[in-house]
Symmetry: C2
Subunit: 323 residues, 2 copies
């Protein structure tokens, strides 16, 4: 049996979480897939990240070419973040027949067609399950188990930072600024939270959901997007008095006349399944013509949840390579 | 490209729903899978079921052997229900290399090992996504996208009939007997509701969840099972006063000392994701060591939701046959 060789590019939060799962749950993964694997290379400049995960220093490199030009790597996990550099790496790898797994929603959403073509050209797989719901298995599920459905309505709470802030505004009566500070203190917001609070992160994720569930690509910059920075305590109280909670909603709808899509704060009735999704949790609500209403709920971010989705993609590629 | 030939055994609710999806969503299914297919045979005695779905009478037969002994059938959908007859059909088909898709939880749960061995012997696939959550994609998701996790805790509301009854007892103040009658009138309970209200249906589903998520087979008859027939209005009121709702819960837990499992009515705190699962809806709540808390919510029964899961299994088999 061929041993699959994996390279992890970037040992930050997500790369490190992926490393930990591949290492600690090696026995169940090998048993369930019938495939052996090894982490053959790690791209990382910072020795502390290697030490933190007790990884073998002999497989660490700072030279990305030594990975991309190797004939020995089957799968790379792109966990570098950013835009131009990871996009060029992914494109090069795919064209050479190296499959790519990434949680990088911004990079994939903005370059979807180009990356798909690179994958086709190289006969490689591009997978990005972690890019939309973090740990929530949604993209592959839409493409595979739910592929018999036409989806006409997708509504998601796709960003944990903003959901944490809105939950604290409602439950603790904190003002937006205070709730944002508390999110930063608790590790649920970045030092620069712009992409989250302005809804940009949600627009990237909605782009990927639409292309997979509705076969319709819309550039994320063309999705009307409004974040939560102007949501006031009065808005929240006003909604609550009507039996609603305010959530940052990414919504896509297919109608007779075309597609409607946007990201914006919306009032959700308390008896809707999305209303009870609180704190840093995410959820995706779908309506398919066969399956009816569905909702998937879980952790949209974090080292291990995101790593779980990446490992799921690695497993899918390993199974495909077996056939 | 090889055209996949499908036989549907039984055109009742589930077989009919499967037929409708395969017919109406043919274009998206062919496009997404890159595989062409036809419904080549239907096993059905009742002409009204054929007429209802406007199916081609020339492919209908009442002779199961003509299907099982054909060299021309790739996949059978076993939607007959019952135990001995469908089990013998599934076993014969699998041994001959014909893949089987079924929603028949009782048959698969009681004969899991035998059917798996028949599938191995014939080099065929046995899939039963519809057997646990109806339309909710859970089994394949556990086996594939979530295969990097060790699951230590599974809790499900796995039966729509009992959840409908308990919801009406709470929300409409109906007694058990009245809520059961109302469930029958609205098509959410069978004329003989024993398997549902006594928890037997849940025990079969828990058996299948455990074997896939925890790699542990327990015969459903060995799962301690208590249904909802003794739940009183006082129990429901008492729970509510404590901030809880009563749900029929199927629970499996892996501990240091082994496995715990049961089906029984339990008090669920109102802030738990399972508490807001009402009426005929089902949900499965999981805790994986990587992904953390996850919940899947949707319709656990009905022609089209169940058909959606069956079609998802058919699509998976078609994709595997392509490789």
């Amino acid at each position: 049996m061929k041993k699959i060789k994996i390279a992890i590019l970037g040992m930050g939060t997500v790369g490190g979480g992926t490393y930990d799962i591949l290492t600690k749950n090696r026995d169940v993964i090998v048993e369930r897939t019938g495939t052996d694997y090894e982490i053959a290379k790690i791209l990382e400049k910072d020795a502390r990240q290697i030490a933190k995960h007790d990884a073998d220093i002999s497989i660490v490199t700072t030279d990305v070419d030594s990975i991309l030009e190797s004939d020995d790597i089957d799968i790379i996990v792109e966990a570098l973040g950013g835009m131009d550099f990871p996009v060029s790496i992914m494109s090069r790898a795919l064209k050479r027949g190296i499959s790519v797994v990434t949680p990088n929603k911004a990079a994939v959403a903005a370059n979807y067609d180009m990356l798909r073509k690179a994958a086709e050209e190289g006969g490689a797989e591009l997978r990005f399950e972690a890019a939309v719901g973090g740990g929530i298995p949604i993209l592959t599920t839409i493409k595979e188990q739910l592929a018999g459905n036409r989806f006409t309505d997708i509504k998601g709470i796709l960003n944990g930072t903003t959901n944490y802030i809105l939950t604290n505004m409602l439950k603790k009566g904190q003002k937006y600024e205070d709730a944002l500070e508390s999110a930063k203190e608790n590790g649920f917001a970045e030092p620069d939270p712009t992409a989250d609070v302005e809804g940009i992160d949600c627009a990237n994720k909605l782009c990927l959901l639409m292309v997979l569930a509705m076969d319709k690509y819309v550039n994320p910059q063309s999705i009307p997007t409004k974040g939560i920075t102007e949501v006031t305590m009065e808005d929240i109280q006003h909604a609550y008095n009507k039996g609603c909670v305010i959530k940052l909603i990414a919504h896509a709808k297919k109608t007779e006349s075309g597609y409607e899509y946007y990201v914006r704060p919306e009032e959700i009735p308390l008896d809707h399944p999305l209303a009870s999704v609180s704190n840093e949790f995410n959820a995706i609500y779908l309506d398919g013509d066969a399956v009816g209403e569905l909702m998937f709920y879980g952790k949209g971010a974090g080292a291990l949840p995101t790593g779980s989705a990446i490992v799921g993609d690695i497993i899918a590629i390993m199974k495909d390579k077996q056939k």
